[in-house]
């Protein structure tokens, strides 16, 4: 009888354990983040969210991760840095998410960093410029291909292209918005100016809500610079490009760090005003052969983006938002769990195969090799979107392994 009772008890315990394990296995793997769905960066925030949702659907269609379905738990941060700490505290304490990733952009990534460091969480971030330089957190990783010295590498291509002109340019004007990203981009530009031995003749910033940029462009023109480097967000990119065309800026190279021309809305609205500008891009159809698996993702993304009223091209951010999740997916699979220390060690040690190519992280969590493209827009006519879907409007100038042509200068001769 005693033996029977023992067998029965043992069986019951084993059954309970199996049931618990089974219930646990069926619990979703929660990935938490804040995302800007309203406010100035909402366009990119929504585009990133669509990409991450596509990734979750793709993984779930294949049976999930570690045998668990993926559940994205996200909250709207209103593009407001002050909302970020409470969002991540709630994700970790109330929602009990297994993994956290960042929202889009430097100004919402930085406020989450102290929480990640306190909780020892791996923090995969989406397009933050040089965030870890102040924190030096060894579990921070960043998917933007800015390179190991993000602030400097960000504009390295622009200045390498500009100084390759013959005769070599001598003077430079630096201008940007009074905001986080432009300030960091200008800081890096100053380092590149020093490296190239150029003389700064104008170095000023403007308030983000500036309406008329023509006084700024005239003040720049009065210094007669060979190079004009601009770091701006979409509304001021549009304002500056229009003012530059209205005033008739004469310089050899103009551009560098304009956020906006990467997206369909500004491309179609500015049209031929973009001609001649040298700027950065993270992907362009001219180099599609280097991204063999991206087409299938873009086809899925573009279908949804039109319905959601966000960037219908999806060249700039969405592939990288998807790649960010692919990195985590591969690290979780390889380590076989969610141990944050093991994940961080693995992500530092190994290379990842993603839709945007091979990704390897440097010690500071940035890409070990910069791969942001420096391009020049040309031959843009009219305002239709179709012309941007296929090669022909962009020459890739940098890095050399991706280059499809050489820069055309001076700027004023290539404006139209």
């Amino acid at each position: 009888m005693n033996r029977l009772a023992r067998w029965f008890s043992g069986g019951l315990i084993a059954f309970s354990l199996a049931l618990t394990a089974s219930v646990h296995a069926q619990q979703p793997l929660k990935i938490g983040f804040g995302m800007s769905l309203t406010g100035p960066l909402a366009g990119n925030g929504k585009a990133a969210l669509i990409s991450m949702q596509i990734w979750a659907e793709d993984v779930n269609a294949k049976g999930g991760l570690l045998g668990r379905k993926i559940e994205l738990v996200y909250y709207e941060d209103q593009t407001n840095p002050s909302t970020v700490p409470s969002i991540y505290n709630k994700l970790l304490d109330v929602d009990k998410v297994d993994i956290v990733v960042s929202g889009y952009g430097t100004n919402v990534i930085a406020p989450a960093m102290p929480i990640m460091m306190q909780r020892n969480m791996v923090f995969m971030s989406l397009f933050g410029l040089n965030v870890n330089s102040k924190f030096n957190y060894d579990r921070y990783f960043q998917i933007m291909p800015a390179g190991p010295e993000p602030a400097v590498d960000w504009s390295r291509g622009f200045f390498d292209v500009a100084t390759s002109l013959n005769p070599k340019p001598q003077t430079v004007a630096l201008v940007g918005a009074d905001a986080e990203y432009p300030a960091l981009a200008l800081e890096g530009a100053r380092a590149n100016v020093k490296r190239a031995g150029l003389k700064i003749v104008y170095d000023k910033s403007y308030p983000p809500n500036t309406v008329d940029f023509s006084p700024i462009v005239r003040a720049i023109q009065a210094t007669n610079p060979d190079i004009v480097f601009l770091a701006s967000y979409p509304p001021d990119s549009a304002g500056m490009v229009r003012a530059v065309n209205e005033v008739g800026l004469k310089t050899r190279i103009f551009g560098g760090g304009l956020v906006g021309p990467q997206f369909a809305s500004l491309r179609t609205q500015l049209g031929s005003l973009l001609n001649g500008i040298v700027n950065y891009e993270s992907y362009t159809p001219e180099v599609a052969a280097k991204y063999p698996f991206l087409d299938q993702f873009l086809a899925k993304y573009q279908g949804r983006a039109i319905k959601e009223g966000v960037d219908p091209l999806g060249f700039y951010l969405p592939p990288y938002a998807y790649a960010m999740m692919q990195v985590l997916e591969q690290a979780i699979k390889a380590t076989g769990g969610l141990d944050q220390a093991k994940l961080a060690d693995y992500m530092h040690a190994y290379e990842f195969d993603t839709f945007v190519g091979k990704v390897r992280f440097a010690k500071n969590g940035e890409w070990s090799v910069p791969r942001m493209l420096t391009v020049q827009y040309h031959s843009v006519a009219g305002n239709d979107l179709e012309q941007w879907m296929k090669p022909g409007k962009v020459t890739v100038l940098y890095p050399a392994s991706y280059a499809t042509g050489t820069v055309k200068a001076p700027y004023q001769d290539n404006r139209k």
Partner: protein, 291 residues
Amino acid sequence: MDSSTALVLNAIIAGLLLGGFYAALSVGISISFGMLDVVNIAHPAFIILGSYIAYIVNDRMGVDPILVSIVVSPLFFALGMLLYRIYYLCFEKRGQESLRGLAFFFGILFITEVALILIFGVDYRLVQTAYSGTTWRLGPVDFPMRLVVPFLVSVTMVVGVQLFLTHTFFGRAVLAVAQDQLALRLMGVNPTRVKGLAFALSIATAGVAGAFLIVIQPVQPAVGREFIGLVFAVCVLGGMGSIWGTLLGAFVLGLAESFTSTFFGPSWAPAVSFGLLLAALAFKPSGLLGR
């Protein structure tokens, strides 16, 4: 002409053109806040609504956005009437207009923004007009049509509002409401009706200003918040309830911004503009043309 003279002349023209645009943004606030004592913090939301209506008609039918805004201004007028009626019945009539009324307009601001996000998405929108890429040059001075056309229509609108207020019975009734509602009631005029019509006029001007905005710069649903401080600053600087004062205040801030950007660096522009506002209020607390 040397380059510094050309810079000065261009700074003056750019400042005046910018000031004209600021006047269009602010004239509605001058009526609602300056004359009617209604703190319509949602005014920029109606400016953005005007931008989107101008955008959608321009995008689908190719009609000039400013023309669209003038054609649809009666709709904005009707919307203003409705909004004031709700405000009056829920807050003003009960004597709760100060704090709860402010919360009401904050709510309207957020609801409008979210509605625009749901309908149009969060992408930036901009219109192309026949004159957007044209710049007239008079010697060394530039006249970008992207700013000249809104300037001309704006000044016409502001002068029209002023003439309307000073040369019509209704306009004088609005001015009387601003001064003494009880006296107006004793004269047999219903101040609530007058305030409703005046508030509607202020919303109609916001709709037109929205078209100017989307001609000048890209717009997304939340961009209106950036103008809340500016429109109230123009109204206070010019003098509460003074339409000429609003125009003058807008020109002062436009010129200050343009000169600061040209000669000292654009990041100083807000400090100089609001420094001027503080200085003007210190020496003339009622504003430049306030009574």
